[in-house]
Amino acid sequence: MKRMKLVMVGNGMAGVRTLEELLKLAPDLYDITVFGSEPHANYNRILLSPVLAGEQTIKDIMLNDVDWYEKNGITLHLNKKITRIDRKNRSVHADDGTSAGYDRLILATGSNPFILPVPGNDLAGVISFRDIHDVDAMIEASGKYQHAVVIGGGLLGLEAANGLKLRGMDVTVVHLPDALMERQLDPVASKMLQKSLEDKGLNFLMGKQTEQLIGRDGRVAAVRFKDGQEVPADLVVMAVGIRPNTQLAESAGIHCNRGIVVNDTMQTFDPRIYAIGECVSHRGIAYGLVAPLFEMAKVCANHLAEFGIGRYTGSVTSTKLKVTGIELFSAGDYLGGEGTEDLLLSDPKGGLYKKLVLKDNKLVGAVLYGESTDGNWYFKLMREGTDVSALRNRLLFGETHLGDSGHGGQNRAAAMQDADQVCDCNGVCKGTIVKAIVTKGLFTLDDVKSHTKAAASCGSCTGLVEQILAHTLGGDYEAPEAKPMCKCTDYTHDQVRAAIRDQQLTSIPDVMAKLEWKRADGCPSCRPALNYYLISTWPETAKDDYQSRYINERAHANIQKDGSYSVIPRLWGGSVTVDQLRAIADVAEKFEVPTMKITGGQRIDLLGVKKETLPEVWGFLADRGLVSGHAYGKALRTVKTCVGSEWCRFGVQDSTQMGIDLEEMTWGSWTPHKFKMAVSGCPRNCAEATIKDFGVVAIESGWELHVGGNGGVKVRATDLLCRVTTREEVLEYAAAFMQIYREEARYLERTAPWVERVGLAYIKGRVVDDAEGRAAAYKRFLESQEIYRFDPWAERAKGVDKHEFTPMKVIEGQTA
């Protein structure tokens, strides 16, 4: 097949990211030609500030060198500016006469710095802050001259001023409005920022309008303002804003309105021509931050690859100032307005200021000064629209104050040394991650995972890795809003699940065919998830695909490091009888079990059983009335109990019996991740019910129900769901909560992060307030249990899945 011709005008971050995404999806669809007006290949424009400040070099910030283009078969024209698009003959023409024909054209012309229309703006020494050329000019000037004036007190202007100051110049920032960064900060934060920049030695002239740049011998020498004041200036940096570069598009008759106007699939009014990046106007907004541009790139690439899914619907943006030593974060609607309320924490002397803007119990804006480590968390709450009413009294104090006292360690990226270990599973240090981000041009968590292995195992350091990403990339890092399930698909977990439900898909091949899986056979990440979604959505019709289950669930035992297995029989509510203990002792003796252990969930673990022996062991246990404890599954694990009112002098309810009842109802049910329960007989809570997925604490008048606790890597205490009176209510609420979790949480999402993601208010709405919905969920749970509440061990002892436990063949004797 003849390849189509794709031409891209512009060679910046947004455009090249589009090509990268496209090559991933459809490497052979196009012959690609790129025109760039700069002499450099693609570099990370965001990091020009650290280069100016002397913290990084140009080499550090290259994203794609010339070799990359060659390797991918892309024709690259550097230093060539396209001056004309011939839409009729579908070709573009450069200033030096080079031309290229296209079937599809991407305009990625970026933006131009706005130059004030004042006399003298063309003098030598008057520059903008936009590209490598400007940075070189600034570095050169700093070696020769004394006085620098930066016009514009926005993000870019302040970063330029900071860099020039660090290079030894005497810097004055001129700003027309009265407050710095007035488009990102409210007045209080703005004042605090100015104060700390003044402490760093920058001078500010606020409310000043530039009238003229005065030259001497062809080079700028001073800036004069409307009020007559003059300041000396050997270098003037104009950082008063950017304008989408629409000149080329306009000259070709493509509709522009303060940007090249595009639809949600990044197409201009000429459908063969796409536009992307800072040059576009999407739904009336022109974006200047990299994260939205990357989102556009993804959508654009998807359509160019003829996949035709995905729309760009706009972005909420956040900003961080990249000035070392100043912590500043702003996102969303930071000023507030009609119908919003503010949460404020203001400590001007201590240099701390936090403002959160809420609307309808959701976070819509944030300004953080002095301490911005929670920025990403707030931003996540904003993007996910989490109902924060349950946390509002603690919200200002950040994520660490939400009972996350464990090893997770969010919010310390900035303070860490390079040698500090971030990922304890794979032994990855901060320095390794930073180096990979900088040298390999990584932008996403997934990139960091595959290059460094950090956060690739247990995931408990994911937050920390995201922090390091954000800290290294500066304010332009944004966690992708919705991540695809895995590399086999562009759909998210939620989209896949919705498709399974709405299109009534009942097998993995069906799902893969309908949703156009990129790998015919999926991967070890998506297959178990799909299998779970299928059997939890269609318990009666979907077939449980054991080959898509992780070995523990396939073999109904826990694999150990030497390839042997552990066997944990179910002890209902953690209570035992003499016969059960004797059976366990007998089985351990008969099969010479090397190690026995009492587990945290009040069970007895038999370790070191060979796989071939498992069915026999199970048969022995089954004959004595013991069943599978499901200690190996993403399933109901254990219900831990204290002795309760039957014996304990403090006990107010029979917690042991309640635990047994709960376990009898729920055992055998598969869940998105493991699910643990506990029942305590009084508020002393000896069963530790408040760190379980579902915890029950007896009170004089009945039972307290708690949800979303976790005692693992990241300790989280439960949230109180409600109080109920009767045993029947406890069972109904437990089943309803579990069922909604089963139906709505993403695979491998424990209840703790799930509850945090959707918000406690949502859970209460579904389980407590909506009696009808609760009863229906309870019913669905019991219906599913009709099918899945059985003992898999007894079956296998009788020969089910025999192939799983026996060798295919035993070859005796010597080999050649």
């Binding site: 992780y550 192939h803 060798p807 063949k809 070859i811 080999t815 050649a816």
Partner: protein
């Protein structure tokens, strides 16, 4: 990488017919599944993928010795059950960026029957 790996690991030495040992029928192995053949050399994992291709590797992951026969099989790859390393079924070579190799053994199908040779394929005999 992938092409190179194929070249290295396909058996290049002719293997005499007598060395082939019948280990069972393809239907003994579930699709996307594996079985263990116990041999004097140790356990050998025999895999069958969705396309009914069969492969044989020493049942030990090059990382920490995990039994590959217990992993999830996808395409021509198996993910080790212990730490999720991916191992190419044709060659036994770990998928980049992981490094290592599990010995691979010649295996072939004759109709329904599966034949295995205990002479490791070239290029991986040392591992």
């Amino acid at each position: 990488m992938n092409n190179l790996a194929k070249k290295v690991a396909m058996p290049t030495k002719p293997i005499k017919f007598e060395q082939w040992i019948e280990v069972g029928a393809i239907s003994d192995i579930p699709k996307d599944g594996a079985r263990v053949v116990k041999t004097p050399l140790g356990d050998i994992a025999v895999f069958r993928n969705l396309q009914d291709e069969v492969f044989a590797l020493r049942d030990k992951c090059p990382h920490k010795g995990g039994p590959l026969s217990q992993g999830i099989i996808y395409g021509r790859t198996v993910a080790c059950p212990l730490h999720n390393w991916s191992i190419a079924l044709e060659t036994g070579i770990a998928v980049a960026p992981d490094e290592g190799c599990a010995a691979s053994f010649p295996i072939r199908l004759d109709g329904e029957k599966v034949f295995l040779s205990l002479t490791p394929s070239d290029g991986s005999a040392d591992h």
